[in-house]
């Protein structure tokens, strides 16, 4: 920047330049403050606690949720005093060693993934489980500038799980009742076929033996058949196990294709008896769903049963049941289980009543299937939807469920 017109003018220009810089700096500072404010507001409203420290372990950030979860606010104490001050314990009621603290580990450069800690202090006299995710905070390029931690209230998740289990056990009872006739049918068949064959082989062996025609080779053959048939009978009990109380209340990641296959096998007999052609279009590598597999299996079985019963009204032999699993193409990528049939369909006037308990258009049905299926879908944050495709002559019921996302820091 050169100027040949003399000092005073230059000073004026510098003055102007300076004030522009100052204004720009001021703007930037305001901008930074605004952004900082925005960041803090966002962090304050986060569902999980967020705590950040610098290299000395001084708190750079501590959001509102962190205070709620820990039952107290930040202090100036050094890390070695944190376990005693905040009341951070092992499950064995022993105070944590400062070296074991997730933030301290992260300051050393470690990444901590869901370390469970019991918090018990004045704000939390009964004690409270939290899970902590932590990792080093890198602001500069070459070294750790501190650490950040995410505090997750595990207790609340546990309570949600308990609520989930309570709701679902109620549904389970009704749902099991509605399905039991069909499943017993399948289980009875699965058991009676091998039992009949065992009885036949045994009677044949006795007959052959009494007439002196049972040589060792034949005996071996018959015995190996009987042993294999006993095994087949045991497998036949699987259908009943799915309905038993011990069918599992467990809550976890569920493979939807496996659930669909299991539901189908529950109703194998009803399908065969009504001469229904089943077309399966299962998408491989479907994302997992979080929930209870026994219940989801029940929900699918109800939709299948609904389709099977609808198909009974069809007199010709072209009864089709199309079973599809897929992921929606939108951003959420929900998992869909579709059950379509080419039965007589449902009048749109009845659509509103369809999902009500005890509503049925069939003389032998209880009218619980769709309402139970929807109830189960809803406890899994999903729903059941009905669509009619007149051009293809199909009625389709779909269970839509959120896919499980990988949670990370």
């Amino acid at each position: 920047m050169t100027d040949k017109k003399g000092q005073p003018e230059r000073d004026d220009e510098s003055e102007a330049m300076m004030s522009t810089y100052v204004r720009q700096l001021e703007e930037s500072r305001k901008e930074l403050t605004r952004e900082r404010g925005l960041l803090h507001t966002m962090l304050d409203q986060a569902g999980d606690g967020v705590v950040a420290v610098d290299v000395q372990g001084r708190f750079l950030h501590w959001n509102r949720r962190a205070t709620e979860i820990l039952g107290m606010g930040p202090s100036d104490l050094p890390p070695e005093n944190w376990p005693g001050h905040y009341g951070l314990y092992h499950s064995s009621n022993k105070l944590l060693n400062p070296d074991e603290l997730p933030l301290v580990r992260a300051m050393r450069g470690e990444t901590v993934h869901g370390q469970e800690i019991m918090v018990r202090n004045r704000g939390n006299p009964d004690g409270h489980w939290i899970a902590v995710y932590a990792r080093p905070l890198n602001i500069g390029e070459h070294h750790a500038d501190g650490a950040i931690a995410l505090l997750v209230d595990v207790e609340e998740n546990r309570q949600q799980q308990q609520l989930f289990q309570l709701q679902s056990s109620e549904q389970n009872k009704i749902g099991r009742l509605a399905l039991i006739g069909q499943v017993v049918d399948t289980a009875t068949h699965n058991l009676s076929q091998p039992l009949a064959a065992i009885a036949n082989y045994t009677a044949a062996a006795i007959q052959l033996r009494s007439t002196g025609r049972l040589d060792d080779r034949r005996l071996d053959e018959i015995l190996s058949h009987i042993s294999r048939l006993a095994e087949r009978g045991a497998q036949g009990l699987e259908a009943l196990r799915a309905l038993s109380r011990r069918g599992g209340r467990s809550y976890g990641k569920v493979d939807i294709n496996a659930v669909v296959q299991a539901a189908l096998s529950l109703l194998e007999e009803s399908i065969k008896a009504r001469e229904i052609k089943v077309e399966q279009q299962l998408t491989p590598e479907l994302p997992e769903v979080t929930g209870n597999s026994a219940e989801l299996q029940q929900a699918v079985a109800h939709l299948l049963l609904n389709a099977i019963e609808a198909l009974a009204a069809r007199r010709d032999e072209k009864r089709r049941l199309i079973l599809t699993t897929k992921r929606t193409t939108d951003r959420d990528g929900r998992v869909r289980i579709e059950v379509a049939d080419n039965g007589p369909g449902i009048s749109t006037e009845l659509y509103d009543s369809l999902f009500e308990p005890w509503f049925t258009t069939k003389p032998e049905a209880l009218g619980l299937g769709l309402s139970v299926a929807r109830g189960i879908a809803q406890t899994h944050q999903g729903d059941v939807i009905m669509e009619t495709h007149e051009e293809e002559g199909l009625t389709r019921f779909t269970i839509e469920l959120p896919a499980t996302e990988e949670k990370d820091v």
Partner: protein
Amino acid sequence: MSSTAQVYIVDDDTDVRDSLTLLLESVGIEVTAYANADSFLQEYRRQPKKPGCMLLDVRMPGLSGIALLEEMQSEAIGIPVIMLTGHGDIPMSVQAMKLGAVDFVTKPFNTQKLLDLVQDVLRNPPNQNRTGKTDLDPHTTHQRWQTLTPREQEVFTYIVSGISNKVIGIDLGISIRTVETHRARIMEKLEARTLVDLVRLSMSFGDSA
């Protein structure tokens, strides 16, 4: 047992088919087994078989047991048929009896009973007109029918159509318990021990029921 005794088994379950074959062969009966109704029909059309007796599974993929009975009726295939049914297949069994099946046994079956039944059918083949009529004395059965109250006659008609107690109750506006009581009285009055007996009787009643 004469050497010409021939039993046809039509059942899609390999284990049941193989074991039944061995059982019947062990008492000297000649067996031909088919995994489905179509393969039996195809072979029969190529070369008609000697009468003997057929053991037919009611539930099969493809052409069902009932459909095969209908086909046999329309093609006048005069083989007496014993249906093999699962538990709770009563409507289907009733339908089968009406299509001319001589009896039905529920799986898993008592092997001795089954053998007795098969040997009985082989020794005394039922008349071949396959109308489903039986040789019960029409006069006696009509007399028994007269002893039923109008309500019992009504319930009887439902039962032999293969309708469940629950649905009979709903239709007639009475409890399942009452249906059960009616059913027991009907069996007693008609001197029937099983549903098969009832179905046979209903066929001999003809138009009166």
